[in-house]
Amino acid sequence: MIAPMTKYSFILLKGDQEGLLEKLQEIGLVDITRSVKPMDDKSAAILAEAQRKHDLLQSLDKVEIPEGLAHTAVSGDPEQTAKAALDQLSELEEALKAAEKEAAASAPWGEYDRDKLRAVEDAGIPVHFHITPAKAFKAEWADQYALSVVNELDGKVYYVVAGEDPLPDALKRGPKASVTDIQARIATLQANIDREKAVLAGVKDVRGKIENAARRNLSDLDLYLASQAAVPAAENTLVTLVGYAPAEDEEAVTKALDATGEYYFKDAAVVEDNPPISFRNNKFVKMFEVLTDMYGRPAYNGFDPTPFIAVFFLLFFAFCMGDAGYGLILIIIGLLLKKVDSFKDYAPLVVTLGIGTTVIGFLFHTFFSMDIAEWSIFQGFPFLPSKIAGYDGTMVLALIVGIVHLCLAMVVKTYNETKVKGFANSLGTWGWTLLIVGGTAVGALALIGVLDKDITKWVIIALGVVSAAGIFLLNDLHRNPLINIGSGLWETYNTVTGLLGDVLSYLRLYALGLAGSMLGKAFNDIGGMILGDGSNLVMWIPFILIVLVGHTLNIAMAALGAFVHPLRLNFLEFFKNSGYEAAGRNYNPLKKQ
């Protein structure tokens, strides 16, 4: 649900706002309406500074410190030390890469005395280095020229020619140094790299200082942006500020504000204030707030769709996966995610989705794409029947779930519109809800035999008449009735065409579940064909590989579809029919980072 908010209005002497905002930052409960992006050079510079520190920490994390390397203690500013060492390390690693490349190129030429070679060249006899493919090299060249073969390696002949040189494949430059010289250079570079890594290892020991500095930058930025939200008044001698906090925290906020001695007054926030939206939900629903935030928070007089998303996203996700085995895998993945810092917030959601998938998977009698209804231990288990009224059971269930989802959306819309506009101004919506939800309920009761034919007929007629009055005549009490009729006809056209498409849209639940199940079955069948009767033990290896890789791929693809499509059914079909609008903004209190 949407938490009621209290509005705090501050009137301060110019220059006092910084002190008050620092106090509010300490409390961490008051949301000052402010920009969320840098708005001038100063704020851009603060953000850039925080970003630089963040990048520096990322670069630092990428550096691999050799085991057993002694850490050099940081004496000065860790940030400057890290930056200098990272720059130096980057240059050294470049030089090492070049030296290793040079060593590889020089190795075939072996050891030679570079001074003697230079002496020959100084005497006016140039020395040319050649690398020629063995097939193209002619042995008679040794008789025709002053040629000496140095090495034969990997189908190539390495040789030098002194003096006249008409032969092909001459290198522009020979090896610059002998292998020994290059190896010595590599050793020096490696030692220097280790020295810089020792410095960086020392910085890593105190990386918390850089992290804290980055957090301070972000706090400063937040504080600066909040101070810029102050509005000058009384010929620039005063400033006013507006903030919001949840009403349930009013006592704590009031106590802290009274201690500052600044003048303020408070009121219950109203929709015209456009206060930030804070949700108050239980643990289960809270996990799904991340999905609501993907679309946007409601207006202050709107409704919190998260409880509905929590139930139906879970159901739809499980429907699309539709495999108890995959559900168990998701539970294991969720439990493993708890140990990964960057994903541990999502771990409960993944476990919950896994539990839902396992339950629905059992109901659909599917375990790693195998039909467990055929297993003797599950004989008599109340699985979903494969056929309902001659149609595929899963398909019928998908449509029923869709109809229930849409009916619920209409009920929510009616309730919310009545709450906001009043009963008299929402008769049109009442008409539609009565017609569709009432009609569906009566139809369902008649279908299962609770209502007999005659009663059903008269109830439907009564619903139709009452609904028509709301839809065509009373949809706007302050308007000309003729315009109301026209508007009702247009609404009828939109609803009839839209609703059919919306219901059919839930077929995707059935199709996605079927696609995943069939693909998994295909991998099982291919593996089974290779395995045969299982008597050949060697064939178990390709069987396990195919089944393992196949199901891993299938889980990944099924999870992708099971995330996107249920999200769309909630965001498009449910939100459209429930009149949900993401007109609000997230509650983002000013607080220390």
């Binding site: 993907m294 679309y295 595929d392 398909m395 059919l504 849209s505 077929l507 995707r508 059935y510 199709a511 996605l512 079927l514 696609a515 069939m518 693909l519 079955k521 295909a522 693809m557 992708l560 579809g561 995330f563 996107v564 499509h565 999200l567 769309r568 965001f571 498009l572």
Partner: protein, 90 residues
């Protein structure tokens, strides 16, 4: 990553349709249904790819359009789903 991988699901629908039709005996029906599913899946994947590509460009330019792209990308895929369901009902 999610947006890049999304149009690949149509390939799976095509494969599922193929898998479901292995037992069908009338070659003309298999050809017709296979061609229809293949075309629908291909066209919807191409269009979905265009939606996703535009979304990816938008995200790379700093716009917060991930959710919108997901919703819009699911629209063309629906026709591939309908194609598959239609093929299964033959």
């Amino acid at each position: 990553m999610v947006l890049s991988a999304l149009p690949a699901t149509q390939g799976i629908y095509g494969f599922v349709a193929f898998f479901m039709m292995r037992s069908m005996e009338n070659p003309a029906v298999v050809f017709g249904v296979g061609l229809s599913v293949g075309l629908v899946c291909m066209l919807s994947a191409i269009r979905q790819g265009q939606v996703c590509a535009n979304g990816i460009v938008g995200i790379s330019q700093g716009h917060n359009v991930f959710t919108n792209t997901l919703i819009y990308a699911a629209l063309p895929e629906f026709y591939a789903i309908l194609g598959l369901v239609g093929a299964l009902m033959v």
